[in-house]
Amino acid sequence: MDCKELAENVGVEEEEYLELIELFIETGMSDLDTLSSAIKEKNAEKAANSAHSLKGAASSIGLMEFYEAAKKIEEGILNDRLEETAEDAQTLKEKLDIIAEYTRG
């Protein structure tokens, strides 16, 4: 993950970018929690909203891999495959952990 390049793509300073990433991790964690519980509760609307939020934030800051994964979940939910997305949500959580570890470590 090259923060400098990502920051440049987004159009902000590297430092501001790091700040955005941190914010992304914070909000992402909370969105993922909501997503997981929504999947458990079988609340498709709530789940789709969380996935959408994750997708939007990831795309804004240029985390394309994450974006694709979130998009897949959102589409899955919208196509009535809520149960199948639990695993993908777990993968997303792992990805976020990696990002978190990378930026904080």
């Binding site: 955005l20 941190e22 914070e26 959408h52 934030a57 804004s60």
Partner: protein, 906 residues
């Protein structure tokens, strides 16, 4: 007299020579008859020249004696001989005699031979001395010297070089390049350097050479060609051994590098620390915002607001520290963007106003007439400094005035030095603390830290930033100020300068001792664009009455009006307004417009307006007065239907009552207390908040006086809507106010970073409902809305529909806007956007005529039909996420500035 030694073994011949020599004027100091005798006499008498017979009696002949004398005493010898064989002659030649005289000889021959010999000997001696001189120079020189022939072979090396390199002279002389002291590595370069040096003459360079034992050493080389009779003969090269210096340099360089690394690490640590703290703070603020939007009871709301306020003040402290460490690390970047310093100054005044709250403080803003409308620099940094100085002023001032002045201090072809002065009537600064304030972590005193808060970093950051802008920031105690005001060039207005001075004296009596802060910065000039300010020609010759109890403000407004050729009468109290207007009517030079401050002791602005609107001349009889009313009504109706200015039309009737009653009136007020409805009820046509923005005042007057503005405001005139500074579209400003409706904190933050960077104001709404509320609370405050489509509570489409309904006056959500905002609410909403809550009531009354705000949709899903859905809901444009900087700026240009290019000059 020249002394000669004669050596001749024939007594008679000797005598004869002696006589002849005397005749020629020489002194014969001695005569010898043998070789040995000659040597002895030479030693005793030190003659200038020896005349030597070759064939002598005894063991030693003349040639042998001559050899001895030449080598021992360096005395020139001339041989005298009758006849001799070839062999003897050869021998004689080897001794390098100065002359050779054959017997018998004439006196002339003798004389010329002696004289030539003496001269030659003298010359040779001189030459020898000079040679000796230069060779000893080389010998004793501590520098190593090598003399090189044109074919690169070594001609000479001095002992110092032998000692330095370990090579002996015999090892080196005759060797050609590559020389044994060149190393393998540097050979090519040395060769090139040598060649260049020979071609282009004297050189000074550093080389790494090697000794005979392989040890390396550094030399600094000086060289020069030696020309003899213009012909290149030798190349002289001198080395200074700089190995020690080089080593010391290396040590120093390394030490410096280490120190820099350590310092960078420190700064990075600080920056990271600040960053680490700032990030969770952003989350705290963001989530507190979200929390505030949930259903909280009163107590919970209070707690949440406290969290937010504390988090915000902590964040600003962290930002200070971050700025400071960035400056220390030399990492502060400066933008090069065009901006308008005048608008920036006004903006800063507006931002500061909420901080003053209800304190009786007048904010004044003096802008020099020649300040260009565009300069090139970093507006955010410029603003940061003004904010800081104005913020301090507002913090430390209880009552009186805060005055921001902007003038040109110096100007070159491509740069301009601006000088801003912030004067307040606050608690003042002790003289001995004036400079210490600008040092980091210093404040005027410990107790003020507690009373007034702050990090103590603000001013030192300002100092550093101004230095980076090739300027400075400093403070003066009030006793210095009267002196300094004379130096302070308010460039083309000596009158204004005097006024400024008097206003200072005037205001200082009201508040504390006060302080004055100066800030200077060099900025670039903008190329190509029109940088002159727009001056409305149509106002020239119009007559204005200005009423304001604040002398400083009165003078500013007067100056602004006079500058465009208006005739101005300035009054400092409301009591005199009506009599002045009346008198002007009587002598048939009526006023075209009246500008009055709302808050004045005695007769207030409201009262002035009411008196004007209900004016009844005391002179005409009752019949005439009734007629007036009828006439006026007709005129009123007429003006409504055809849009012609009522005052112009009314004056056509030459009726003093209606002329007076229809006089265009502009209210001036401080932002916090303005009440548009009250102004309107009192009869004002327009409304401006202080400090007065020049451009807005001109524009409003142009419209009210019915010239220049008709094209834009026909509709507004017909509905007789009161003008406010925000109904005069802010088409000339370079900073747009943007409402951003976005629920995701990451996107919020990113958009805020991008928009703030470009100098725009951003107000964030966390969902559609909040966006609608914020917009309805003060619709005139926003130039553009960026609306996320998918949001909780209320999505972007629905929010847009609500806003459009509200704008056209059919809003069921009107109750939302009915909630009058408290000053505290505004601060809570945003630390950047100034408070303009005074428009709440006005907005409710006048929703039918609200300007349609451009709404641009932002959405991540790029599904077909999205665009249509957005447009259907009432949006104007559409951008796809991820948010791209260029696209955002493009949208702002298109929707905010696009239609108003004609006003760029303002």
């Amino acid at each position: 007299m020249t002394k000669l030694l004669v050596v001749e073994d024939e007594g008679i011949v000797a005598k004869d020579i002696q006589i002849r020599l005397r005749n020629l004027g020489y002194e014969v100091v001695a005569v010898a008859s043998s070789g040995e005798g000659a040597i002895q006499k030479a030693a005793e008498t030190h003659p200038d020249l020896v005349l030597m017979d070759i064939i002598l009696k005894g063991e030693m002949d003349g040639i042998e004696a001559a050899e001895e004398i030449i080598s021992r005493y360096d005395i020139p010898v001339v041989y005298l001989t009758a006849h001799t064989d070839e062999k003897t002659l050869q021998r004689a030649k080897i001794t390098e005699p100065f002359g050779y005289i054959l017997k018998p000889f004439g006196e002339k021959n003798l004389y010329s031979t002696i004289e030539i010999s003496l001269h030659r000997h003298k010359m040779e001696k001189k030459l020898k001395e000079s040679e000796e001189f230069s060779s000893s120079l080389m010998r004793v020189s501590p520098n190593s010297i090598v003399v090189i022939n044109p074919d690169t072979s070594v001609h000479y090396v001095n002992p110092a070089l032998e000692e330095l390199t370990g090579f002996s002279s015999s090892e080196l002389v005759g060797t050609k390049a590559p020389y044994p002291w060149w190393t393998e590595k540097t050979r090519e370069r040395a060769k090139k350097d040598l060649k260049e040096a020979i071609v282009s003459g004297a050189q000074k360079l550093e080389e790494l050479f090697q000794k005979k034992n392989g040890e390396l050493f550094w030399v600094e080389i000086t060289s020069a060609p030696i020309r003899i009779n213009g012909e290149f003969k030798y190349y002289l090269v001198s080395w200074v051994d700089i190995t020690q210096r080089k080593q010391a340099e290396e040590v120093l360089r390394k030490a410096k590098q280490d120190a820099e690394l350590a310092n960078r690490a420190k700064s990075e640590f600080l920056a990271n620390m600040s960053h680490e703290i700032r990030t969770p703070m952003n989350a705290v603020i963001g989530f507190t915002n979200l929390l505030c939007d949930t259903n909280l009871d009163e107590k919970q709301t209070d707690y949440a607001n406290t969290i937010k306020k504390s988090a915000e003040s902590l964040l600003s402290l962290i930002n200070d520290i971050l700025d400071f460490s960035k400056i220390e690390a030399g990492q502060l970047d400066f933008d090069e963007i065009d901006f308008d310093p005048e608008l920036l100054a006004y903006d800063v005044c507006e931002i500061i106003r909420p901080k003053i709250e209800s304190k009786p403080i007048e904010i004044l803003c003096h802008i020099g007439d020649t300040i260009p409308s565009r300069v090139k620099g970093d507006p955010a940094r410029f603003r940061q400094i003004l904010n800081n100085l104005m913020g301090n002023a507002s913090k430390f001032t209880k009552s009186g005035e805060i005055d921001l002045s902007l003038a040109i201090e110096e100007e070159t072809d491509d740069r301009i030095k601006l000088h801003a002065t912030v004067r307040d009537t606050g608690i003042g600064i002790p003289k001995d603390r004036l400079s210490a304030m600008f040092e980091p972590f210093r404040q005027v005193d410990g107790s003020s830290t507690r009373k007034y808060g702050g990090t103590g970093l603000g001013l030192s950051i300002c100092k550093q930033i101004t230095k980076l802008m090739s300027g400075d920031v400093w403070a003066e105690s009030p006793s210095d100020f009267r002196f300094s005001i004379d130096d302070f060039r308010l460039e083309d207005s000596p009158k204004l300068k005097n006024n400024l001075q008097s206003s200072i004296v005037n205001s200082q009596s009201k508040g504390g001792p006060g302080s004055v802060f100066h800030f200077t910065a060099w900025l670039g000039k903008t190329e190509g664009k029109e940088t002159k300010r727009y001056t409305p020609a149509s106002l020239s010759g119009k007559k204005a009455l200005v009423v304001d109890d604040n002398r400083g403000n009165l003078e500013i407004v007067t100056h602004i009006l006079e500058r465009v050729g208006m005739r101005v009468v300035a009054l400092r109290s409301g009591e005199k307004a009506i009599p002045t207007l009346q008198k002007a009517l009587e002598i048939d030079t009526p006023f075209d417009i009246c500008i009055a401050d709302i808050r004045m002791p005695g007769v207030s602005g409201y009262e002035v307006a009411q008196q004007i609107r209900h004016f009844k001349s005391e002179i005409p009889g009752p019949d005439l007065a009734d007629q007036d009313d009828v006439m006026e009504k007709e005129v009123w109706e007429a003006s409504k239907s055809n849009g012609i200015s009522k005052s112009t039309r009314a004056r056509a009737g030459h009726n003093p009552n209606s002329t007076m009653r229809n006089l265009p009136l502009i209210a001036l007020s401080s932002l916090m207390e303005r009440d548009a409805r009250k102004c309107e009820e009192a009869g004002f046509d327009g409304f401006l908040s202080k400090p007065i923005r020049r451009g807005k005042l001109y524009q409003m007057m142009e419209r009210l006086l019915g010239e220049g503005g008709d094209r834009h405001d026909k509709d507004e005139r017909v509905t007789q809507q009161i003008m406010t500074q925000y109904s005069v579209r802010e088409d000339m400003k370079s900073s747009a106010r943007i409402l951003l409706a976005e629920d995701n904190p990451v996107n919020q933050r990113l958009a805020k970073i991008l928009l703030t960077k470009a100098g725009y104001y951003v107000e964030v709404a966390n969902n559609g409902k909040e966006a609608v509320e914020k917009y309805m609370a003060s619709p005139k405050d926003f130039d553009l809305i960026f609306m996320d489509v998918q949001m909780p509570e209320m999505d972007g489409l629905e929010a847009t529909r609500e806003i459009r309904k509200f704008e056209t006056g059919n809003s069921p959500a009107i109750r939302l806007a009915g909630k009058k905002l408290e000053p505290g609410d505004i601060q809570q909403q945003s630390s950047i956007a100034p408070d303009k809550s005074g428009f709440t009531l006005y907005s409710n009354n006048r929703q039918s005529s609200i300007h349609r705000v451009p709404i641009v949709a932002m959405t991540a899903s790029a599904m077909k039909g999205d665009r249509e859905k957005c447009l259907e809901a009432g949006m104007d444009d559409y951008i796809a996420k991820p948010i791209k900087r260029e696209v955002v700026y493009e949208m702002i240009n298109k929707w905010v500035f696009g239609g108003y290019e004609g006003y760029n000059g303002l």
